[in-house]
């Protein structure tokens, strides 16, 4: 690989890394035909992990980090002094194909700074995807970041080649957008997300190909004053009304050459983690946004206990739950019991009465679950759920979560 291309790759990978989305999931299963390259597996594969614990699944790069926008939180804003570079369409195609052949990646996640115009930028992104599919018989995963300001037909075209399209909400409120991202317009973003959502639903019903893995988005956590409750409600709206597949939460992270209007501090990683847990409660645990809000204090999720435990501690009267009798929905509310453990409990108890030892084989978090459940040979004696020190006993011991 020549040095010029390597240099561009370093700049444009660095410029893309603040997008938390990494997944290569949700595409319909495909395999390579004769002479073709690439497949998709459904769940996607993480091909490596970097020392930040994040996975590398896709080649995540920008086409260029030149940008006309000036979003304060972004390393690529036009007023930043970072080094700039621009790939040609062919260069991105080559990198993707050669990395893919060596089994480094599942495919490509391509985004870009806005150059010349949103339409021009979107056309370039689409050309990369089209060339991969048409000229190289590439059947791997392609995720394109859509430019919300681009004309609708360009988004339509992108959806023909991409497995997933995404548009980042970034800032959850109009006021924050106005302050931190002056060129962005909340209504335009929302409309573009709605447009993609409509197209996906329509294509599915007409059995046409359009962004089959759905769409996802990202919100930045900690760059403005939005509470966890507001973020979770926003996500519930995006999942419910806009049919998004994933909302990514990205702890606002210090960037090289930071902006004057955003103080740079350590990223709130634990807060990000709790938001993901709250998000999972919405998607897999039949919690309503009100339930998750109920687990917060002044709109914020506790950092030392997970949101499900926080909810249970506030609703002690609904526990303990009998693992041999309770319905699925109530079992899902038991701290320490994951959705898979619950399914195993329900399957096993058709044939046997579960004792505490049995439950211990079905979950790895019995310590947390124990005060909240009843088994054939076990009842939390003396009303363990009434103990005042229960929270302290179950909270995570304070630990170093980042370098500071």
């Amino acid at each position: 690989m020549d040095e010029m291309l390597a240099k561009k790759l370093r700049i444009l990978a660095d410029a893309a890394k603040y997008d938390a989305s990494c997944s290569s999931s949700g595409a319909p299963k495909r395999t390579a035909g004769k002479g073709e390259l690439g497949s998709t597996t459904g769940a996607g594969i993480c091909h490596a992990y970097t020392p930040d614990g994040r996975c590398i699944s896709l080649l995540k790069i920008l086409l260029t980090n030149y940008c006309l926008f000036d979003c304060a939180y972004c390393v690529n804003r036009r007023s930043s002094n970072v080094q700039r570079a621009k790939f040609s369409v062919e260069e991105v195609v080559t990198l993707t194909v050669e990395f893919y052949k060596r089994n480094y990646i599942e495919g490509l996640f391509l985004s870009s700074g806005i150059i010349k115009s949103p339409d021009h930028t979107m056309e370039l992104l689409t050309r990369v995807a089209k060339s991969l599919r048409r000229d190289h018989g590439f059947r791997g995963y392609i995720h394109l970041k859509s430019i919300p300001e681009a004309s609708p037909w360009l988004i339509e075209e992108a959806g023909l080649y991409a497995d997933r399209l995404s548009i980042n909400v970034e800032l959850p409120t109009e006021a924050s957008l106005e302050r931190l991202a002056p060129e962005k317009d909340g209504a335009v973003i929302q409309n573009a997300i709605a447009q993609i959502g409509e197209r996906i639903a329509e294509a599915k019903s007409e059995k046409r190909r359009f962004s089959p893995a759905g769409q996802s988005t990202q919100v930045i956590v900690g760059a403005d004053a939005t509470t966890d409750e507001a973020l979770i409600r926003k996500s519930a709206l995006l999942y419910g009304s806009y049919n998004l597949k994933r909302v990514y939460y990205s702890a606002f992270s210090p960037i090289p050459d930071g902006s004057t209007i955003l103080p740079l501090t350590a990223p709130p990683l634990q807060r990000e983690h709790r938001l993901y847990q709250g998000d999972w409660l919405l998607r897999y645990y039949a919690f309503t946004p009100d339930d998750v809000a109920d687990a917060t204090e002044d709109g914020m999720l506790s950092l030392d206990i997970d949101p499900k435990l926080a909810w249970a501690l506030k609703h002690r009267a609904r526990f303990p739950v009998d693992v041999n009798a309770a319905d699925r929905e109530m079992l899902l509310r038991v701290p320490g019991l994951g959705a898979r453990a619950v399914d195993k409990i329900i399957r096993a108890r058709r044939h046997t009465r579960l004792r505490l030892d049995d439950v211990a084989r079905l979950t790895s978090a019995l310590k947390r679950a124990r005060p909240f459940l009843i088994a054939a040979d076990y009842h939390p004696a003396g009303g363990l759920t009434d103990r005042l020190d229960l929270r302290a006993r179950l909270a995570d011991p304070p630990k170093q979560l980042s370098l500071f």
């Binding site: 790759l9 370093r10 990978a13 890394k17 395999t31 390579a32 002479g35 073709e36 390259l37 497949s39 594969i45 993480c46 490596a48 970097t50 020392p51 930040d52 614990g53 994040r54 996975c55 995540k60 790069i61 036009r78 930043s80 002094n81 050669e98 990395f99 052949k101 060596r102 089994n103 806005i114 010349k116 115009s117 021009h120 791997g140 004309s151 037909w153 075209e157 023909l160 329509e202 007409e206 046409r208 992270s253 050459d257 930071g258 902006s259 740079l264 501090t265 350590a266 990223p267 990683l269 195993k344 399957r347 096993a348 044939h351 046997t352 049995d358 439950v359 079905l362 980042s402 370098l403």
Partner: protein
């Protein structure tokens, strides 16, 4: 020696006093001997030999190369509930020497009445087998994820070779993934137990490989390491999370991991520097004009719009080229059809096929000069399906029509007609966004647009009618066009 299984006859010498009979010795091939186990399990269960009387051992002879050969067995198959076969096929891949004993225990208990045993994940045996199965799934997953190919240097066709050390006997089970993914490549995977080669057509298993048999380097590895380093965010360093997913044992076969110590060493300093650094003033001038110009991206003329449509990919399957509208800017009447047909697609002009010729005739009879009207289609590309040598017209779906609406709207903005005639249901859908039956809506219509609207049938409808109905329908069509003509004249006045 495919599917080697030798069951020693029960001999008194082996009777060690356990239970009621002598020990039954079963010797299986090294690696994952699924066939050998299956045959032995059938024989043992058929003879009612309980697990505690079976002694499982694994022989020396190797010949399987990790790929289970199909070996027919004379014994009657066991009837087992769904899921058991799958569990067995996975757990035999485990390197635990106890695997066959555990699996036979499972089969025995199921045969003796515990038919639903696999559903009881809390049972200690099931729990243990599930963990073994999970270990296999993880090993397979990690092999799919962490294996790295290197290109064999030299001229000639590309060849790729990888060296990998799985924990379990999974090469045979892992290989199909690589076939599905790299079908067009020539590749070899070497492991300490066996090797697999795909030449683009056939998958073959062979003897064990050595690390030295794989190329020592690859031209893209430096670039890959650069990418790995650049995508790491030092402010989020979390080594435990990395190691949980990518344990150290894999590192030696992954070129990018050489960067880890350096990245970790510098992370704190790099993050500190980002936080300490006082924000800098931008050195570049503010590109105010470029920023202002950015929003001005919509095509500013019909020509520019047409260039864009011509350049765009068809949003329907088929189509050799885009067929653009035709006629003078400022025409007082515009006709909108459904989509180009076979002839239009070949010639690149609208309404030149049989339906177009019929339209021209009717227009002439109604007094409308074709050259003075603007003619276009709701969908700009011919959607068809190839059947033999014929290209069969396909009706565009509502979704496809709406893809093209943006263009049609801009196009009519530039032409700025006084009256727009929708020919058929697709045109109505494109102009109004609604499905409206033509028979009911025929005549003047309100499209809620700056121009007046008129709805009539598409001329191709006339072509499809039986002969006896044609004349009447054609007369009605011409009558519609006369009204259009009059309306157009009064609107233009």
């Amino acid at each position: 020696m495919a599917g080697a299984h030798r069951s020693a006859p029960p001999s008194p010498a082996e009777g060690t006093g356990f239970g009621r009979g002598a020990l039954e010795a079963v010797d299986l091939s090294p690696g994952a001997d699924l066939e050998g186990f299956r045959a032995a399990a059938r024989r043992l269960a058929g003879r009612g030999i309980p697990p505690e009387r079976v002694l499982w051992s694994i022989g020396e002879a190797s010949g399987l190369f990790g790929a289970p050969p199909p070996a027919p067995s004379e014994e009657a198959p066991l009837s087992l509930p769904r899921g058991v076969g799958e569990m067995v096929a996975r757990v035999v891949l485990h390197r635990d020497p106890e695997r066959y004993a555990l699996l036979y225990d499972l089969i025995w208990r199921i045969q003796r009445g515990e038919r639903r045993l696999l559903e009881i994940s809390s049972d200690p045996l099931v729990h243990r087998l599930e963990r073994m199965r999970k270990a296999i799934a993880r090993d397979l997953h990690k092999m799919h994820a962490f294996l790295r190919f290197r290109r064999v240097e030299g001229d000639g066709p590309e060849r790729f070779v990888a060296w990998f050390e799985p924990d379990h006997h999974i090469l045979g089970a892992a290989a199909p993934f690589f076939v599905d993914r790299f079908r067009g490549l020539d590749w070899t995977i070497l492991t300490p137990e066996a090797s697999a080669r795909w030449d683009g057509d056939v998958l073959a298993f062979g003897p064990p490989g050595r690390r030295e048999d794989a190329p020592a380097q690859d031209g893209f590895e430096a670039g890959w390491r650069d990418y790995y380093e650049s995508t790491f965010n030092p402010a989020r360093t979390n080594l435990a999370a990395m190691r949980a997913e990518m344990p150290k044992k894999y590192w030696r076969n992954m070129p990018e991991t050489a960067a880890i110590p350096g990245l970790v060493r510098q992370a704190a300093a790099r993050t500190g520097a980002m936080i300490e650094r006082t924000p800098q003033m931008p050195v570049k001038r503010n590109p105010a004009r470029a920023v202002a110009a950015m929003a001005d991206q919509a095509p500013d003329s019909l020509e520019a719009l047409n260039a864009l449509i011509r350049r765009s990919e068809p949003l329907v399957p088929g189509a050799t080229q885009a067929v653009l509208g035709e006629g003078p800017l400022g025409a007082s009447i515009a006709f909108v059809g459904e989509q180009p047909g076979d002839q239009e697609d070949r010639q690149g002009r609208p309404f030149v096929g049989p339906a177009g010729q019929l339209l021209s005739r009717a227009m002439a009879e109604a007094g409308i000069a074709r050259g003075e009207a603007y003619l276009t289609n709701a969908v700009k590309h011919f959607k068809f399906e190839e059947r033999g040598k014929r290209r069969i017209h396909q009706k565009p779906t509502a979704g496809e029509v709406s893809h093209y609406r943006w263009w049609l709207d801009r196009e009519l903005d530039f032409v700025a007609p006084k009256l727009v005639v929708a020919l058929g249901a697709t045109a109505v859908l494109a102009l109004t966004g609604k499905q409206i039956p033509i028979t009911r809506a025929r005549g003047p219509a309100d499209f809620e647009k700056p121009y007046a609207g008129f709805i009539t049938v598409h001329p191709s409808y006339l072509l499809r009618l039986p002969d006896e109905a044609k004349a009447e329908a054609y007369a009605a069509f011409v009558a519609d066009l006369r009204r259009v003509h009059d309306l157009g004249r009064s609107l233009a006045a």
